[in-house]
């Protein structure tokens, strides 16, 4: 369930669009930033705001890879292995982090497609904040910095940091 503040925000978001259905993606981001994932119940709630069915919201949201339909901890680590990162060490960063955090419920490591950071490849995002020019070791350090609070993370859906 959206918090009272987010309910207010949800109404504002819906009002930005001529048709409420357009608000499905932003409301799903809002729910995911709040809950850390996109639950079945959140889809139900979004359906009410957007004048549609939960099946429709599920169908729409499942199309987009940023929405996580199971809890994934506080940090989503997205490592690029696409054709630039591929040849400059991206797969090695991925393998290292996957191994390192295999049993860490707070860190969800995923392989992603091109992040548009090829000039400084290999690169990754943690909760959609960029980290570039990585080595396996420096990438691990970044994740550790987030875990220790030395770096302040965005929401799991990339929402702005709340003061």
């Amino acid at each position: 369930m959206f918090t009272e503040a987010n309910k207010k925000r949800a109404v504002e978001i819906v009002a930005q669009y001529p048709k409420a259905h357009s608000a499905i993606l932003p409301l799903a981001h809002l729910a995911q930033d709040q809950d850390g994932w996109l639950s079945l119940d959140a889809m139900d709630e979004i359906a009410d705001y957007c004048d549609t069915t939960a099946a429709d919201v599920q169908g729409v949201c499942s199309f987009y890879t940023m929405y996580k339909r199971r809890p994934c901890g506080n940090f989503v680590v997205s490592v690029c292995t696409n054709v630039t990162c591929l040849v400059v060490g991206g797969p090695e960063v991925l393998e290292h982090l996957e191994h390192k955090y295999a049993n860490d419920n707070d860190v969800f490591v995923e392989e992603v497609e091109c992040l548009a950071a090829c000039g400084n490849a290999p690169s990754m995002q943690v909760n959609y904040e960029y980290h570039e020019h990585l080595t396996p070791e420096s990438a691990e350090q970044v994740v550790e910095d987030y875990k220790a609070g030395r770096l302040v993370a965005r929401g799991v859906s990339g929402g702005a940091v709340h003061a």
Partner: protein, 445 residues
């Protein structure tokens, strides 16, 4: 395989900074309202409102020869002319869903110069008579979304955006809309579907979005770089802009160069340099004293080129490269690979990308992309079979019947389907022997 190529010293090899000047000059704070306005942001927008002359905008942009910078190269002013006059509301949608592998030039503008984008949006909205513009950003651009939202906020506070702008009676609202991880939403009709809160599946065309777009109403979809260029064209004059570049490729465009080059990055290039100039001059040549093996001159979706004189001496010209080499400048990305690179591995990774990003709407792409990926995975991971290359060509023909031909034909709804076929055609063209050798070896994984 690849020949050693001399790097020619060419004096004219330099950048021409127009659309990226502000962000390059003030990389730390060009995104702030203070810096941008002290650097001249919104001056042209004020001029537009002062003149109140839609035709002026149109004429200048038409004279500039500006073509869409998203990859389709459609002349911007002609798109405007195609708008139907049917009394329905018109929408302006900015395509900031930059997701083509190795393409990262729009992100520079989105994060670095949001006020240029907003100024361009206002002017274009004014030109087409739209009162609601949507800036669709790929979901991963969290910082970019923050920056544009802040910029819209500041611009609204200053009266440049909103209702009755600067007392002109003109209204425009700007909505920043984040995607959520789907490359296909860069295709304009899929983007519109996504903006309507649907699965980002391309629509059947016709009708084109310009006629039946967002909410079934006329819609102009433009790339970020295209929109950002409009204020500069009005400032310098369309004719002046058209003086830059060559032939019908007027002005400059942002090129994102990556891979095995010494100086990867985004460069603003006047059309007309050779590819050799760009790779070896602008981007500093191949790193680690290696030789160039092959490169992708226009993003991931089109045919590759190799280190031959014919290819390297090709001029950076939208129409010329297409006519002569059967490939395109696409999204403005140039990926460069050195002599140690396994082209099969690159082809597999591209196929994996397209299989992952296929929306699943039409059969050949949904099933074909996955099939190609599976075969290429085997081939690039030591489990190739002798007739795999021919199998790839056969499967490809089901997606793009004239496999080797460019521009490609397609059995699919949108061009995503044939995109991995470009890589396979490139393997066939340049690396057939190498691929066959790899598959014949049959090394178990």
């Amino acid at each position: 395989m690849s020949e050693a190529v001399e790097t020619p010293a060419r004096k004219e090899v330099r950048e021409t900074l127009i659309v990226s000047r502000r962000v390059r000059e003030f990389p730390d704070d060009a995104h702030t309202f203070e810096r941008a306005t002290s650097d001249g942001a919104y001056e042209i927008w004020k001029e537009v409102l002062r003149r109140a002359d839609v035709q002026w905008i149109h004429d200048e942009v038409k004279a500039s020869g500006l073509r869409g910078r998203g990859g389709a190269n459609f002349p911007t002013a002609i798109k405007w002319e195609s708008l139907p006059d049917n009394g329905l509301p018109r929408h302006l949608v900015i395509n900031g869903d930059e997701g083509e592998p190795s393409t990262f030039k729009d992100r520079l503008l989105i994060e670095g110069d949001p006020h240029a984008l907003i100024e361009g949006v206002c002017i274009e909205a004014y030109r087409i008579g739209s009162h609601r513009a949507f800036i669709y950003l790929r979901g991963e651009f969290a910082l970019g979304a923050d920056r544009i939202e802040q910029a819209v906020h500041d611009a609204r506070a200053a009266g440049y955006v909103g209702s009755n702008i600067l007392g002109s009676g003109f209204d425009v609202e700007i909505v920043v809309h984040r995607g959520a991880g789907a490359y296909i939403c860069g295709e304009e009709s899929a983007l519109i579907e996504s903006l309507e809160g649907k699965r980002g599946m391309p629509r059947i065309k016709p009708p084109l979005p310009i006629h039946v777009g967002l909410y079934s109403e006329p819609t102009v979809v433009n790339n970020v770089e295209t929109v950002c260029t409009i204020p500069h064209i009005l400032k310098m004059g369309g004719a002046q802009y058209a003086n830059l570049g060559v032939n019908r490729s007027t002005g400059t465009r942002l090129a994102a160069i990556s891979g095995h080059v010494n100086n990867p990055g985004v460069y603003e290039l006047e059309f007309g340099m050779t590819l050799r100039d760009i790779i070896f001059g602008i981007a500093g040549g191949i790193r680690g004293d290696k030789q160039l093996k092959f490169f992708l001159p226009g993003g991931a979706s089109f045919q590759w080129l190799i280190a031959s004189d014919e290819h390297l001496d090709q001029v950076y010209d939208i129409d010329d490269i297409s006519a002569k080499l059967g490939t395109t400048l696409g999204s403005g990305a140039i990926m460069v690979y050195d002599e140690d690179t396994d082209p099969l591995l690159v082809a597999w990774r591209l196929a994996k990308f397209y299989a992952h990003e296929s929306c699943g709407k039409c059969t050949p792409c949904r099933e074909g992309s996955g099939w190609l990926e599976k075969v290429l995975y085997r081939m690039s991971h030591g489990q190739g079979r002798p007739n795999d290359m021919d199998a790839l060509l056969d499967i490809s023909a089901g997606i793009s019947p004239d496999v080797m031909k460019a521009p490609f034909t397609q059995t699919t709804i949108c061009p995503l389907g044939p995109s991995p076929v470009s890589a396979i055609a490139s393997l066939q063209k340049y690396f057939r022997a190498e691929v066959e050798a790899a598959c014949a070896a049959g090394v178990p994984a």
